[in-house]
């Protein structure tokens, strides 16, 4: 495994631009999910600009790495990342959540670069496993990354899938938990405590590590480590902040699913240095 050269400053700037566009398209739409989108930005940027083998000009390239966004409500982060990569024109981002748009309110497989439509939580990990098992049967090699929400892992189907990946030793599956610790009606630990999260996944047969989900060095280290772990799937608990980058949104459950007003957007962009 030859490790790629990393320009952390480049990734940081991509993340800053990504945050701006997330806020802009949610503002333009008048609705959306800023909290859990902003928390997942560095994870997406690390995947699309560092880790994944993919080619925006060939979204169906059979050997591409797959990304499954199981927390489908965070689609704004995926849409702006895919558009920035060149999967579809940036102009189209304005149509987010509007009638006749491909950019549906929860991530939609009709968008170039999107593998699976989700929105109802708890679906993505089983699908990721299925892709991995299919690749094993067909003897092709690529990786499958699956982004999970911390509220989402309260769904039982996630644990069915976690058990399957462990049992079948799916070492080309990497689940990344956007652990922002806030769900729609309050803090995760108060609603249904998930700790010790890492131990749960280890017990299910996973290689499980914890990183700062806003720190590219840590994310990259964990993603590279995934390549070296054989015989078990990898789980990355990415500690994040809901609404990261906008002080008045950070850690606030009320920003799970609402759009900023114009003055709020302006204040947010100012904070991000725009």
């Amino acid at each position: 495994m030859v490790s790629k050269t990393v320009d952390i400053d480049f990734l940081k700037e991509k993340a800053r631009q990504c945050r701006r566009e997330i806020l802009e398209i949610i503002f333009e739409a008048g609705s959306g999910h800023p909290g859990g989108s902003l928390s997942s930005v560095e994870i997406l940027i690390a995947l699309y600009y560092y880790k994944m083998n993919h080619d925006p000009s060939k979204p169906d390239w059979p050997l591409r790495d797959r990304f499954i966004m199981s927390k489908g409500h965070a689609c704004s982060a995926a849409y702006v990342t895919l558009a920035d990569c060149g999967y579809f024109p940036k102009e189209e981002l304005k149509t987010f959540r509007k009638l006749n748009s491909r950019l549906q309110g929860h991530i939609y497989a009709g968008v170039p670069g999107v593998e699976l439509s989700t929105g109802s939580l708890g679906h993505g990990l089983s699908v990721a496993n299925g892709i991995a098992l299919g690749a094993r049967i067909c003897n092709v090699n690529f990786n499958i990354y699956c982004l999970l929400g911390d509220g989402e892992i309260q769904e039982g189907s996630i644990w069915e899938a976690a058990m399957t990946a462990g049992h079948h030793k799916l070492d080309n599956v990497c689940a990344i938990l956007d652990y922002n610790k806030v769900q729609q009606n309050g803090p995760v630990p108060e609603i249904k405590n998930e700790e010790p999260v890492l131990d749960k996944w280890k017990d299910f047969g996973w290689h499980a590590v914890e990183v700062d989900g806003h720190n590219f060095n840590e994310l990259i280290k964990a993603l590279d480590e995934f390549d070296t772990v054989k015989g078990k799937p990898t789980f990355i608990k990415a500690n994040t902040v809901k609404g990261k980058g906008v002080s008045f949104m950070e850690g606030q459950s009320k920003w799970h699913g609402k759009a900023p007003k114009r003055e709020e957007l302006e204040a947010a962009l100012k904070e991000l240095g725009f």
């Binding site: 089983s126 299925g130 098992l133 690749a135 049967i137 069915e160 399957t164 079948h168």
Partner: protein
Amino acid sequence: MPEMKATRDGFGEALLELGRENKKIVVLSGDLEDSTRAEYFKKEFPERFFNLGIAEQDVLGTAVGMSMDGLIPFACSFAVFLTNRAYDILRISVCYNNRNVKLIGSHGGLTVGPDGATAQCLEDFAITRVLPNLKVICPADAVEAKKATRMMAEVRGPAYMRLSRPPFPVITKESDEFILGRANVMREGRDITVIACGLMVYEALQAAEILKKENIETKVINMHTIKPIDREIVIKSAQETGAIVTAEEHQINGGLGSAVAEVLARNFPVPVEMVAVNDTFGESGESEELLEKYHLKDIDIVDAVKRVIARKKKG
């Protein structure tokens, strides 16, 4: 007396044949492959078979993932678990994503028998036929189940087939044509049409014999595809016979009878009577005892025919 064979056996044989012919066929099971007969495939192709344990949501989701690079997954369990239990996965991951996943739900209907109400699936037609993209099939016998299995593998997109546990009479021939969405006329008659699916097609044919003795000529239609329903034959039969009786091993609400009534209401309304389970759960008992107690026998179809003919005459 015709040969007796369960539709699940017909499926199991066809799946094995398909496995031999096409390496893209893969099979997933919720630990019921002995019951669904997917085990015939498992024994010959263990590398393409996955028992994912008692986790129907995971079975369907994993099947979706396997379909994404050209494999053709058959997801097999009891009808109750595959449809009712895993419904949200069926709705979003399978149907909304329009994945090429084949669902096989065995042990449909009351004829599961002594296992009782929790295992007797009586809602699957209702909840599957409302889902966009999904095809819904219930073969009349084991021979038809084999053809339906092969057809499911050929036709792109998600499809659900309900199978039954007990052996029942084989009433179709190997040479009969089987086309998805096109019903088969089993018997012509000018006085009344009975539209049935699954083992109720046999009961309908028996009913037609009884009615013949009373000079009532019954047309019997085998509606093996519940969705997309064969609208043409439903409308044509209503025009020709002026009344319809439906017969299914399913709740009276939302199933084949409802599907037929929807077509008629919009196109050519005629009196309809429905032979089905009357909005109640089942219970333990032998298949035949249950069919009798819950009024799903030939004599129940005969009664329904007489009722509907009386309504037609009142007109």
